[in-house]
Structures are given as C-alpha cells and as structure tokens.
C-alpha cells in the first residue's frame, strides 16, 4: 500500500485541534503528533532518487510529490525524467480522468500537479478547476500554445503558473515555490482567526498572496515566470514549517458549503456564519474562509468570461465524463454574481434563476450528465421535463425579455421573467423537499458515475462556459437551492440552455 518515504517536520506549533478526525476524504492519515504529515510514496518514485533518508525538512524541496498529466507520451517521459532529476517524487499520468481519481483516492498524496492544457478526455482547465476546488493543490498548466488568451485562461482558472513547451528543466526546478506559497497563505488564514470582517480581509489578503501568480498581481507574472532564469527568493526555512493538514473539500462538504452560502445569500455569506450553518465538527472558520475565497473567485470568473462560442467546445464534457460535472447553470452563477455586485435587485435574482433554470433550450446539444434525481449536484443545465410547447413558449418569452436587458433590470422585464418563472414555480416548489436528502447521498462521484447520459453532445456553442466547473462538488450554486431542486425532480431529459442565458449575460456585462 503506502510506503513511508519520509516524514516532514512541517508542523511545529500546530494546534492540536487540527488533528481532530476530519474525515472528509480521509485527510489525515497516520498523523504523527509531533511532526505532522507522513508522505506516501507512489509506485513510480525512487528511480533516480538520491536524497536517501535524510531528514525531510533539510531536503526540501527534494521529495516534493508531483503529479504530471499529459496525453503526449514523449513529453510525459521527458518531464518525468526532468522532475526526477530535480529530486522530486513523480507520478505520471496520461489521462485527466485517471489523474483526478488518483488525486481523489489519495487526497494528501501529492503536493503539486502539472497538467497539459490540451488533452483528449478532458480539458486541462477543467481538470484545474476540479483540483482547485476539491483538493486545493497548486496546479501548473503547460502547453505548446503560448497565445496570450490561453495563458490568461490559466490565470483566470486559478493556475499558479503556466509553462510553455518545450519545458526546460530550469523551469521545473522552482515549482516548489508554489507549494510553499500556498501553504504559507493557508497558514496565514489560520493565524488570523477572529471576527467576521476579518474573514473578508483575509480573503483579500490571501487572495493577493495566494493568487499572486495567477490573478491579481499582474497578468503576465505567470508568463514571466516561465523564464528559466528567474531567481527565487528564499523564504524557505520558515515557510517550510508552515504546512498544515489540508482539509479536503469533498463533494458532500462542498455541497453543504454551497447550501449554507445560498441560505445566507452570496453577499452576506461570511465564513463564521457559513461555518455555523454547516455545522461540521472539526471544520474551522479558516477552512471555510479560504474555500469561500476560491468559490468567489470562481463565480467572478464565470461572470467575467466572454462567451465566444468556440470556447464551448473546449470545455465541453462528454456525457461519459459524468464525474466531471456538468455545465453548471452558468446562468445562475452569473445571476448570483450580478446580484452580488448590486446590479440586480436581490429578489429578482431568485426569479431570474428560476427562470433561467427553467429555460429550456430548443437546441439539442447540451450534454446532460446529470445523474440521479435525488442527487442534486451537478447538472449541466437544468433539463426540465417540460412539454415541448411549453418550452417553446418559455424560450420565446425569455428570449424577448432578455434580449434588451440593460445592466440593471427594468421592472417590466422582471415582470416578464416572473412570468416565465411562474410556470416553473410549481416545479420549484415540488422539489424543495428533496434538498435535504442529498446530503445523505453518496459522494457525487459515485452517482455521477452512473451516467444518465441521455444528453447529447454539446454542439451548441452558446453554452459557453458551462462546463466551468463547479460541479464536482456537486451542489449547484443556486440560490436557495431552487434550481438544483428543479433539476432533481424533473430528471433532466433535456438540456435546457442558455442561448438565452448567454445573451442575458452578455448584455448585463456592459
């Protein structure tokens, strides 16, 4: 099973309560009370290993556990060799799906992931999102493509770096900085425990630091970083002790989180209250805070991404990829974001969402991997079991309504949406009761694996970013869980989608 290669003395003054049985996805394995985590070696390690059994902390970054994912066997082999030469423990993988399941099975088995952008079974960015949300590991993207927009995509999806192929070994020597940086920020989150406002401060602070190489501090930082000659600062010694056990946001946990956030309202959701609502033993406010930060970033990115039709195809997930989550109701997320930014009156949000969700699509083409009816996670687009006629009607209405929508909703238009929404109203109400059950369901993954893939391949590019991932977590980010419930009950035969939604978003974006 697992071989202990070495233990790392990262946790020096770690508060004991962190070692409580946080069982989400077996985060802690064999915690050693004095020295924290024990590393698990992977099957393919050791070859070329030169560090021996020296005390791990001294050896850092040697032994860094890297998972590299690339469908190109030549590149994969070269990368593996280069990483071994850097004294890292390397696991290689040529399929994103395999990588994801490896990560899920062995939640604390890796420190950093390097992934190619273009892979046949799953888009690298999608994998990136999954990893960010589920395991919170730093992910480095790489590609032969150095176009600005691709690099930017890496940034917006939260990649901590972007390497251009051919990758030189010098570029790989410093990847450990991302691991340290991330842990350092998590540590800071932890240290700044306290008031509610602080949660937001922290978010901002760690956002700056944690996302420094991706989002905020200069878009080109990640592209600059790929230059081999960049010299890394050495904040090592103290930060190497800052490693803290990672809470893994399993599907159920994330679902509970989203439910709590929705209950509070996206703009009122502060870590302390979320924590209280979630009522999960052993979970700390800091865990919630950092997860909330990521979640917000995700939402923000969703609303800010342009919806060029061709993008869709990249992010599209085939029905077989049930595990990867459906195109979440992008529309809903956008609406939420809009509401959060004050552009939409709060109460219209729910309406719009309901309307949006109910909006069937005339187009066939959305993959609908949705799954078990009782499991209201992920869904690509709400496939509602509407009668054809009704769908049409809805569609038209909504098309008309949304077309001319200005940045702020006009009352008339809202009324129009209400109209459409009301027909959904019944649907919504019916399923509300299902909500609580889902938390008892098996992890999303398991259920997702039963592909209800009655969906069709997504051809319709209007879907845009739907596949942006939220889903593995399952819980759709719907306000008040309404949309999810709708999905639940109706069983999604159709992919209702967002031609309309997209337009809506487009106009709202100014």
């Amino acid at each position: 099973m697992f071989k202990h290669v070495k233990s790392r003395n990262f946790l020096h003054n770690f508060p004991p309560f962190f070692f409580l049985g946080l069982e989400f996805g077996s985060v802690f394995r064999e915690m050693n009370s004095s020295s924290g985590k024990v590393y698990m070696s992977t099957a393919s390690s050791s070859a070329g290993w030169k560090a021996g059994d020296a005390a791990a902390a001294d050896q850092f970054p040697a032994g860094l556990r890297v998972l590299v994912v690339d469908d190109d066997p030549t590149c994969l082999m070269i990368l593996e060799k280069m990483l071994r030469t850097c004294l890292y423990e390397v696991t290689k993988c040529n399929r994103a799906a395999t990588a994801l399941s490896m990560l899920r099975e062995n939640k604390n088995g890796f420190d950093i992931v390097i992934s190619d952008v273009h892979m046949p079974d799953m888009d690298g960015f999608k994998l990136l999102e999954h990893i960010g949300l589920e395991m919170d590991l730093p992910v480095i993207m790489m590609s032969a493509d150095d176009g600005k927009h691709v690099v930017m995509k890496g940034v917006t999806h939260g990649a901590c770096d972007y390497l251009i192929k051919p990758v030189r070994i010098e570029a790989l020597k410093n990847i450990w900085q991302h691991v340290v940086r991330k842990r350092k920020n998590e540590w800071k989150d932890f240290e700044q425990s306290g008031s509610v406002e602080e949660g937001d401060q922290q978010l901002k602070h760690s956002e700056d630091a944690g996302y420094s190489s991706s989002a905020n501090e200069g878009n080109w930082k990640s592209s600059k970083r790929r230059k081999d000659d960049e010299d890394e600062t050495d904040e090592r010694d103290d930060t190497s002790t800052l490693k803290k056990p990672r809470v893994v946001w399993s599907v159920e946990l994330h679902q509970q989180f989203v439910v709590a956030v929705n209950q509070l309202g996206i703009d009122k959701a502060v870590p302390k209250k979320i924590l209280e609502l979630m009522n999960v033993p052993g979970l700390t406010r800091e865990n919630v805070a950092s997860h909330l930060q990521k979640y917000r970033l995700y939402l923000r990115r969703l609303s800010g991404v342009s919806q060029h039709p061709s993008n869709l195809n990249n992010t599209f997930m085939s029905p077989q990829d049930a595990t990867f989550g459906p195109l979440s109701s992008l529309n809903v997320l956008d609406l939420q974001t809009l509401a959060a930014t004050g552009q939409l009156p709060a109460q219209s949000l729910a309406t719009l969402e309901a309307a949006g969700l109910g909006r069937p699509t005339g187009k066939s083409g959305l993959p609908v991997p949705l799954v078990d009816q009782r499991n209201f996670f992920s869904f690509e687009n709400p496939k509602l079991r509407f009668g054809e006629g009704q769908q049409h009607v809805n569609n038209n209405k909504q098309m008309n309504l949304l077309h001319g929508i200005p940045t702020t909703m006009e009352p008339k238009q809202l009324a129009g949406l209400h109209h459409g929404a009301q027909s959904m109203g019944n649907m919504n109400m019916q399923v509300t009761s299902h909500a609580p059950q889902s938390s008892q369901n098996n992890p999303l993954l398991m259920q997702m694996a039963q592909p209800q893939a009655r969906g069709q391949m997504l051809n319709d590019s209007s879907l845009g970013h739907a596949p942006r991932l939220l889903s593995p977590m399952g819980q759709p980010i719907l306000s008040n869980g309404i949309a999810a419930n709708v999905l639940l009950e109706t069983g999604f035969k159709k992919i209702s989608e967002p031609l309309v939604i997209i337009q809506f978003r487009r106009t709202l974006r100014c």
Binding site: A47, G48, D71, D72, P73, T74, C75, M77, I78, K81, M82, T85, D116, H118, P120, S143, A144, D145, K165, P166, V167, R168, I169, N313
Partner: protein, 187 residues
C-alpha cells in the same frame, strides 16, 4: 584511437544537425538528462517520439482525407505533434507544424495538405538523422568509449586543448555555436 575518431565524428555530425536546424537546444537538454541510472534515456525518448509521431501522421492523413475535413481535429493532432517535436528538439518539424496550424485556422484544404507533406518530409529527415546519431553513439559505446557530452555556448575563439590520457579534449566554435567535447571516462 579509433574510439576517439568515432567520438570526433559524432561531435561533427551532431554539430551539423544543430547548424542545419534539425535539432535545437532542447535536444541537448535531453542528452544532459541521460546518466548512469538511465543510460538509454535518449534512445527511449526518441523511440517513443517516433512511434507517437507516426501515429499522429497517420491520423492526420486520414483526417485530411475525409470528404468533409474536421479542422479542429486536424489542429489538435498538429498541436500535439508540435508539442512532442519541440520537446524532443526537432526544430524543423516543429516549425512545419506551426505553419500547418496557421493554415488549419484558415481551413484551407490544399494548403493543409501541402503542410502535411512538408511535416512528413521533415519528420522523415530528422528521423533519419537521429537514427544515424544513435547508431554512432552505440558504436562508440560498443567499442568501449563514452558518448561525448555536447554543450552549447557562445565563444569566439577556437581552441585545441591537447590530449588527455583518456582521450582528446577539444573545443570548436562554429558560427557562434560552441561545441565542447569532453571525454567522460576512460575504458
């Protein structure tokens, strides 16, 4: 003696490959990754590259042979070939792929067919060169010598450093590219 001559021949041959842009600096990286724990690394990677590329080229031929060409698919294949050829250091193949991708974007069928021919041509050329190179290396090792490590740098002078017990060490500068051949060990 003979080993030394073979080594020199290998260095010269490698030099020409660089000068003619069949190979670029990335190939040197690969050579430097090869060590005692992995003495056949370059051979293995190059073989993998050959297998993978041939498959890609077949797929490309098929894709371009369809009545209705799926350019996205073609582009994906070419992108992959570009990635692997650049990782190996096969510069001309990579450059041909770049041109190929441009025409894919334009969805120009005749041009892409020509590009495919070009890529294939470059691929077979570099394959031939690499096979020759690897064969020369094998001959040296079989004769008891060691494979000279080649480093690139920029120097303006030509030096003859003289003999060592284990072989000749010399430096040669050509067109701004500096190749230094040093014997690693004696046998």
């Amino acid at each position: 003696m003979e080993v030394v001559q073979m080594q020199r021949g290998l260095v010269d041959y490698t030099k020409t490959l660089f000068m003619e842009c069949f190979l670029d600096a990335q190939f040197l990286q690969l050579q430097q990754l090869q060590d005692e724990s992995n003495p056949d690394f370059v051979f293995e990677v190059v073989s993998l590259f050959f297998d993978d590329s041939e498959k890609l080229l077949n797929d490309l031929s098929m894709a371009l042979d369809q009545p209705s060409v799926d350019f996205k698919k073609v582009d994906a294949h070419v992108h992959q070939l570009k990635g692997s050829s650049s990782s190996i250091g096969a510069q001309r193949v990579k450059d041909a792929c770049v041109t190929f991708r441009n025409f894919c974007e334009e969805q120009n069928i005749e041009a892409t067919l020509r590009c495919l021919q070009q890529v294939k041509h470059e691929y077979y050329l570099v394959k031939n060169k690499l096979e020759t190179l690897l064969r020369l290396e094998q001959q040296i090792v079989a004769a008891g010598g060691s494979i000279p490590m080649i480093e690139m740098g920029f120097l303006k002078t030509i030096n003859m450093k003289g003999k060592h017990d284990s072989g000749v060490v010399y430096t040669v500068e050509t067109y701004g590219v500096f190749c230094d051949s040093t014997s690693i060990r004696s046998l």
